[in-house]
């Protein structure tokens, strides 16, 4: 029998599951992690005993609520943790769990695959001790580890101040926060940000708290390079006052988040360029219906909106699904959710202005900077292929291997696109989209195959 399936047990996936269960549908919930919660509300291993407040701060109540939901629902779901969906085709999902490959036929699927950091490489970013902001946060939430003893946080996006704050609260020495967006951009963005005053207040609070605790917060600050012999020892950054050096033993950096869209691609969803996300995203209507009748999209995997929006989008997509298979749904609820999502969307517009994408990066990144770690492709290698006349990103990939390795371009694709666009003097929306190919993540030889 074909199942109703949810991929991803983060805020969107869990709320979607809850909504389906409340209406009497028993979905299959597939998740790569051992315990539900997603990345943002990632849970510590069962034998760790830190309090939710310590782990999640202001978000403790939401994290708790979500974890309780998945714990309560467990018996009413076919919940399959530690399960990777590595491929999708022809109404079925291909899964990998504990060395076993299996197929799962679906009647409907909600794709809630979340996001990863958007990385714009700088010299030295592959040194041990350099992490993405999200990874730094996971080390803390999941394992109670800091990435170093003297940490610099750099880049842009809401995670920047949040993670720095969480590290300082946890007792790590935060050397500095280097925010690439200028203060003027953040001031201009204020009207949009006021649409979500509570979220804005938290952001201001984090920054104020850091400053009040003597932590240097620099705006309009560009991370120039990270130096060290065996691992991070120092970094250089610059602002309008010139170049500066900081000693540190770890760096966490990113420029916002990017959606994990590979499964939507393999499922055949139509994609469109999204200027706000600066990325190709699967198209969806306000309810989360994709261009494919069986496929629904929710959460950051279909465009970065944050955890609160993901919860609502998960519920909204589940309601759409229920309606499409003939269930009666609460008549007011869809409109309420869509209205709230719209407000968050307005806020997100403001955030993008506040944490503006550093458009100059692609022009300035030096030729010898590694862009694709998996295949060891440098910025100059990409530029050389473009100078040979190639401008379509899949062709550039074919010629220099950028995005061809283990991560399949999930880490380097955004940066490569920026370099190709700059070098070929085309808008980044005009150089094509990296095509997803199975497996989404590496697949071992010698796996056992269920008939």
């Amino acid at each position: 029998m074909k199942s109703v399936v949810i991929i991803g047990a983060g805020p969107a996936g869990i709320r979607a599951a809850q909504t389906l269960v409340e209406h009497g549908v028993r979905p299959v919930l597939l998740d790569e992690a051992a315990r539900g919660g997603g990345q943002i509300y990632r849970r510590q291993p069962a034998n760790f005993k830190r309090s939710a407040v310590k782990l999640y701060g202001f978000e403790a109540r939401k994290a708790n609520a979500l974890h309780q939901t998945i714990d309560t629902l467990r018996e009413q779901l076919d919940y399959r943790p530690e399960t990777l969906v590595w491929n999708a085709e022809d109404g079925t999902l291909d899964t990998l769990h504990d060395g076993h490959a299996a197929r799962l036929a679906f009647s409907k699927v909600i794709v809630a695959t979340g996001a990863t950091d958007r990385i714009l490489p700088v010299p030295g970013w592959t040194l041990p001790g350099v992490y993405s902001l999200g990874a730094a946060q996971i080390a803390l939430k999941f394992q109670g580890c800091a990435i170093g003893e003297r940490v610099v946080f750099a880049g842009s996006g809401p995670l920047l101040y949040l993670v720095a704050y969480q590290y300082a609260k946890a007792g790590a020495k935060v050397v500095a926060v280097l925010d690439s967006s200028p203060f003027s951009a953040q001031a201009r963005a204020l009207p949009g940000l006021l649409s979500q005053p509570a979220t804005l207040a938290k952001g201001i609070y984090y920054r104020g708290w850091l400053t009040a605790h003597g932590i240097a917060v620099h705006q309009g600050a560009t991370l120039n390079r990270i130096d060290g012999e065996q691992r991070v020892q120092s970094l250089k950054w610059s602002d309008s006052n010139g170049q500066h050096q900081l000693d540190c033993d770890a760096v966490a950096f990113a420029h916002g988040l990017r959606s994990e869209t590979q499964l939507a691609d393999l499922l055949g969803c139509e994609f469109a360029w999204n200027p706000l996300n600066r990325a190709w995203l699967p198209t969806r209507d306000n309810a989360g219906r994709s261009s494919i009748a069986q496929v629904y999209l929710a959460g950051d995997g279909a465009g970065i909106m944050g955890a609160d929006a993901a919860e609502m989008a998960g519920e909204r997509a589940a309601l759409a699904l229920l309606e499409d298979i003939g269930y009666l749904i609460p008549p007011q609820r869809p409109a309420q959710l869509e209205q709230s999502l719209k407000r968050i969307g307005d806020f997100r517009q403001g955030l993008e202005r506040a944490f503006a994408f550093p458009e100059h990066w692609a022009a300035e990144v030096a030729d010898d900077v590694m862009v694709c770690r998996c295949e060891e492709v440098r910025a100059g290698d990409i530029r050389e292929v473009v100078r040979e006349g190639h401008w379509e990103i899949n062709r550039v990939k074919a010629h220099c291997r950028v995005g061809m390795g283990r991560c399949q371009g999930r880490m380097c694709g955004a940066a490569a696109a920026e370099i190709i666009a700059r070098e070929s003097q085309r808008p980044v929306s005009e150089i094509g989209r990296l095509r997803a190919q199975a497996p989404i993540k590496p697949l071992p030889f010698g796996l056992e195959i269920e008939a």
């Binding site: 491929n87 085709e89 998996c374 390795g405 283990r406 190919q437 071992p444 030889f445 010698g446």
Partner: protein
Amino acid sequence: MIEVDAVIIGGGIVGASAALFLGKTGRRVALLERDFCGSHSSGVNYGGVRRQGRPLSQLPLSQKAHAIWAQLPQLIGIDGEYQRSGHLKLARSLNDLLALQDYADSSQGFGLDLQVLDRAQLRARFPWVGDVAVGASYCPDDGHANPRLVSPAFAQAARRHGAQVHEQCAVTSVEHDGQRFRVRTQTGLELHAPWLLNCAGAWAGNLAAQFGEPVPMHSGHPAMLVTEPLPLVMNASTGVEGGGIYARQVARGNCVLGGGQGFALDNARARPGQSAVLEILRQAVELYPFLEGAQAIRTWSGTEGYLPDRQPVIGHSRTQPGLLHAFGFAGAGFQIGPAVGQALTEIICSGASKTSLDAFSITRFHSISVA
């Protein structure tokens, strides 16, 4: 309006090498490619540069190609990761080994220098091959190359020799006005030429049909995958008698494996498909035990043209003077492609190919009606 000596439809390795060789003789050539040159089956195939196992009728042309491959860097400006690693065709049963022995006997005189190895010889020389193989046939000078680099480089080299290369330039109409072909493209070009080369791969059937000689061609979609880089183990490209899977290891350490069929996403694109991928993963550890626990990081497929006898069509149209066909290579066009481009060039420049193309005539699909 563009006046040239030859319009070539299809920027795969066959069309691009024809453009290159014609360009070298000073002929004015326009190469039209709907997508990007070398981006379909010429660029996404396994990368085998292999003579062993081909039908005997292909071996003279394949030997010509072998000589061209030896000059690859001089010809296209890059080495294309081409290496004469040797090609090892494995037998999983004694019957299969007998078949390999038969092939070695019958192909003698073509210059392949095949060596049939029994189990002990195979173990001694290629200890990384799994016990499932009972013997093999080894062709020392066959090898492999990177099709992603080689096929587009033929088009680049053609451009350097004066060929006009038009990418993202689909052909919308072809006519013959009694004297020359008139070819129009989606981009608004109109080209005139006395020669038209149909090198459109899996999509070549339409043009043949337009000139009254339809062919029973169907598309195939080979399933391919690649591992993360591994320690260098495989010192030969491999295949298996009777089909199954084929594998090679590149200098970077990645193993490239293929086998089975994928499926079409649309007219131009394909995916390898879950079943074929899992089957490769399963069979690979039997044939190449060192792969146990390694990771496959990427899969892909392409669109190849197959005729029922798995032989290509190469040579003159039966119905339209000036029209030359070269398509339907059944997943085995990469090695032989440059020699086909050369043969087409010989037809145009000196009236006939130096190598007989009789076995590949399109007339074999058309019974001659006697009135």
